[in-house]
């Protein structure tokens, strides 16, 4: 009987893996829990894209919630995501801060000129070090940061209309309820 134990253990694993494959077909694997959720956003001080003499830091953004969208001109998925930001970012009611990740400022500016600029402000993380602190896997990623500077939501991968309606809007609505 005891010799069957390894087999049973393995069958348990198989059930778990089968579940994993099934789960991933129904869920978006981009939806990874970030250890940063409900943690204060890492401190950063980054130059504004196109105005390198001006720096924006975490403290200057406190006071109201905002969406931080990680993008780059080299990122293909960002092009797919961009139209949604262009058309629907305004209706969310929170500022959209661009986080230009590992990009040359000139390339980023040209890219925005071509595809449009949905952002209220853009900070440039040219060498990606602030990105490391934010745990950026790959662009695009989107963080919802509340008025106290705490990360409340994170999306890895492009924002789709579905994600916008079912995840980001409810998350913003929840924030509004918290602090009337």
């Amino acid at each position: 009987m005891s010799r069957l134990l390894p087999l049973f253990g393995f069958l348990l694993l198989v059930a778990l893996f089968g579940f994993g494959i099934w789960w991933n077909t129904g869920h978006d694997p981009h939806d990874i829990a970030s250890p940063l959720i409900d943690q204060p956003a890492p401190a950063f001080a980054l130059p504004v894209l196109g105005e390198p003499e001006r720096t924006i830091d975490k403290a200057s953004l406190l006071g109201r919630p905002y969406l931080l969208n990680v993008f780059a001109s080299w990122c293909i998925e960002c092009v797919h995501e961009h139209p949604i930001l262009m058309t629907r970012a305004k209706e969310l009611g929170v500022p959209l801060v661009g986080f230009n990740y590992k990009d040359e400022p000139a390339d980023a500016t040209a890219w925005l000129a071509k595809h449009g600029n949905p952002f209220d402000t853009i900070v440039a993380d040219r060498d990606g070090r602030a990105g490391i602190d934010f745990g950026v896997y790959a662009a695009p990623e989107t963080f919802l940061i509340d008025a106290k500077g705490v990360i409340r939501y994170k999306r890895i991968g492009p924002i789709t209309p579905d994600v916008l309606d079912n995840e980001i809007r409810p998350a913003i609505a929840a924030l509004a309820k918290e602090s009337p």
Binding site: L4, P6, L7, L11, F17, G18, I21, P35, E104, D127
Partner: protein
């Protein structure tokens, strides 16, 4: 036309693998010598065609054949030739082909070097390897074909992930796979033994050198991967408990248990069922690692594109291979209570305890790696466990292993005497305490560093004491047979590794500084003078290259050139500069210019001083060397009867 030849070669390899997997096993079962004789030529033939397919893919990369989708995705005209070769395994399809290629390296080597083994046994071993080949070649042909054409052909290709454009990456994957896949040989030996019911010690003796060599390769592969992460990722870290790293570490842990269990079974005939089970586990974990990385079930930083169809295929394959072998084990496993009996205080017991610690550690890593998935299954929400979980539990499980390690060689087979153990423990313990006290003055009271020195000296002094004992008590020429030397070198590696981990983890200094040209910063007793940034260029990148001069007490120690590269496809990659030394590494990464329009001005820099960090990899290399020395033991090649050979190698084992 040529890429189609590669595909055609793979189809032929698949057919030969089917022949190799079916006919010899049937032959061994029926006692038909003609069918058994198919094994070697079929293995050689499969090898030839798989190597041909690999050569075709390499040729496609070297000749810029962008009509092949895989080549177009992973290389371009500006990529230097050596990175075009390594781009072959830079993504999913090619790394699966590398897997099969290396499986064939092992099969062909086994076919060539197994002439002295019984024919039925070799037939079964090669048959099992053939069946594994069938599974993987079919996987490549049906779900991950690297020879797929892309029309119209692009003028130029994409790029190999710049993170992979590093010398460390050129040999890390093949070496790691040599280890991973090498456990298939121990697995095949065990399955052959279960099928044939030959549970004598003989087959374990044949399997031992293969297991040791595979384990040594795995060790080297993990060391290379860790060193690459340290040099290339620019965070100064050397291990991240990432699912992909864990996937290679679990078979390594079980491999440690396996090579020790094999020694018990071979020499004493004890624990045969445990040895069989561990060989099944080691290879199962290698396959599981492949599954975890390839299926997209777990998301990881290094995971390549995932595809549920591939996941389902590999899961099915896992069920057949692992489930089948564990079922076979349940039916045919030898009785546990065979072999010579042993006392509670004996080398057998010591190895069993160590084995339990290592397999538990592997299970702990597996649990941590799968935790996000378990969280989903039990609806606990998105949970993942990180370095705190692994760091805490791993240290908890390995601390007793470190404590017990020096006793190992002193323990006699069957029944050990307490007197020798206490005298060794007394000497090593005193040495450890003295060194810890001395170290305490140098490390500013960092407890982990002190504990590291104590642990390392305990292991090192205990091992050295045994070296001296052998030198005194044994006649010249019989003092250190290869197997014994391997064990001692590997154990010394543990001591070196401990120093590296504990000292570098607790004493490293990291600082972010902003420096104008000519300005300096001081850490760890070194002055870092920033001498400005200049433009430089490589084959497919241009870079801002900083110059940092390292001074100690006013004298120049070295000049370092950290870079920030922009590759031709636009990706930016930081190339840190490392001044390596046996006792400390100095590590400089270039950040950002303070003013983007003035690269001649001040820059942000990240500076590290990491004492003893090299010892981490040095310890790993010692362990690898130990595995290889032990594999060279003359007894494994001899055709003597096991009993005579065992007596030869193990003089004065006091038999119970």
């Amino acid at each position: 036309m040529i890429p189609e030849l590669g595909q055609f070669a793979l189809v032929l390899a698949l057919l030969l693998a089917i022949a190799q997997g079916v006919l010899p096993i049937v032959g061994a079962w029926r006692g038909n010598a003609a069918l058994m004789a198919v094994a070697r030529p079929a293995a050689a033939g499969q090898g030839v065609f798989v190597f041909a397919a690999m050569a075709v893919l390499i040729y496609a990369f070297l000749s810029f054949d962008f009509s092949v989708a895989y080549v177009a995705d992973n290389s371009n005209l500006a990529l230097p030739w050596y990175y075009r070769v390594t781009a072959v395994w830079g993504a999913h399809e090619g790394s699966m082909l590398l897997w099969v290629t290396i499986l064939n390296v092992w099969s062909v080597a086994l076919a060539a070097l197994s002439r002295h083994l019984p024919q039925a046994f070799v037939a079964r071993v090669l048959g099992v390897l053939g069946l594994i080949g069938v599974g993987f070649i079919a996987f490549i042909l049906f779900t991950s074909n690297p020879f797929m054409r892309e029309l119209p052909m692009p003028v130029d290709g994409g790029d190999l992930n710049p993170v992979l454009q590093d010398p460390g990456m050129t040999f890390h994957p093949p070496v790691l796979y040599m280890g991973y896949v090498g456990f298939s040989v121990a697995f095949a030996f065990s399955i052959a033994a279960l099928l044939g019911g030959e549970m004598e010690q003989a087959w374990v003796r044949w399997a031992r050198p293969w297991t040791n060599v595979a384990w040594a390769f795995l060790t080297l592969g993990i060391v290379a991967g860790s060193w690459w992460a340290y040099a290339e990722l620019g965070w100064g870290g050397w291990w991240f408990w990432d699912p992909v790293e864990n996937a290679s570490f679990m078979p390594w842990l079980v491999g440690v248990a396996l090579i020790h269990a094999q020694a018990v079974t071979e020499k004493r005939g004890s624990l045969p069922a445990w040895t069989v089970l561990l060989s099944l586990f080691a290879f199962s974990l290698s396959l599981l690692g492949t599954f975890l990385v390839r299926s997209g079930v777990l998301t990881s930083v290094h995971a390549f594109a995932s595809d549920p169809r591939r996941g389902l295929y590999i899961l099915g394959f896992l069920v057949i291979v692992i489930g089948g072998s564990l079922l076979l084990y349940a039916i045919r496993a030898p009785k546990v209570a065979t072999g010579k009996p042993f006392a509670p205080l004996s080398r057998e017991t010591g190895i069993m305890v160590a084995n339990l610690l290592f397999t538990t550690a592997a299970a702990m890593v597996l649990l941590g790696t799968l935790f996000p998935l378990i969280g989903d299954a039990l609806n606990l929400g998105r949970v993942s466990v990180g370095p705190p979980y692994f760091g805490f539990l791993f240290v908890l499980l390995m601390a007793p292993a470190v404590l017990l390690l020096p006793f190992g060689p002193y323990l006699r087979w069957g029944r050990a005497e307490g007197r020798q153990l206490t005298s060794m423990a007394l000497r090593a313990g005193v040495a450890a305490v003295i060194c810890a006290i001395v170290a305490a003055f140098f490390v500013q009271g960092h407890l982990r560093a002190i504990a590291g020195v104590a642990g390392a000296v305990w292991v090192g002094a205990g091992t050295l004491a045994y070296v001296i004992k052998r030198w005194r008590e044994m006649p010249r020429g019989r003092r250190y047979p290869a197997e014994m030397a391997g064990m001692l070198v590997a154990h010394a590696g543990v001591a070196i590794f401990l120093i590296g981990v504990m000292l570098s983890e607790s004493l490293s200094i990291e600082r972010d500084v902003r420096l104008a040209p000519g300005a300096s910063a001081t850490i760890g007793g070194y002055d870092f003078r920033f001498d400005g940034v200049a433009e430089t260029e490589g084959p497919n990148w241009r870079a801002d290259e900083g110059t940092v001069t390292i001074l100690r007490d006013g004298a120049t120690v070295g000049t370092m050139h950290p870079q920030k590269r922009t590759y031709s496809r636009g990706q930016v990659q930081t190339e840190s500069a490392i001044d390596a030394g046996l006792f400390r590494d100095i590590y400089v990464a270039l950040g950002e210019p303070m003013d983007a329009n003035d690269v001649q001005g001040a820059w942000a820099l990240r500076l590290y001083h990491k004492p003893f960090v090299r010892w981490i990899w040095l310890g790993g290399l010692f362990m690898m060397a130990g595995g290889l020395f032990a594999a060279a033991e003359r007894r494994f090649r001899a055709k003597k009867t096991p009993a005579a050979a065992a007596v030869d190698a193990e003089p004065k084992g006091s038999l119970a």
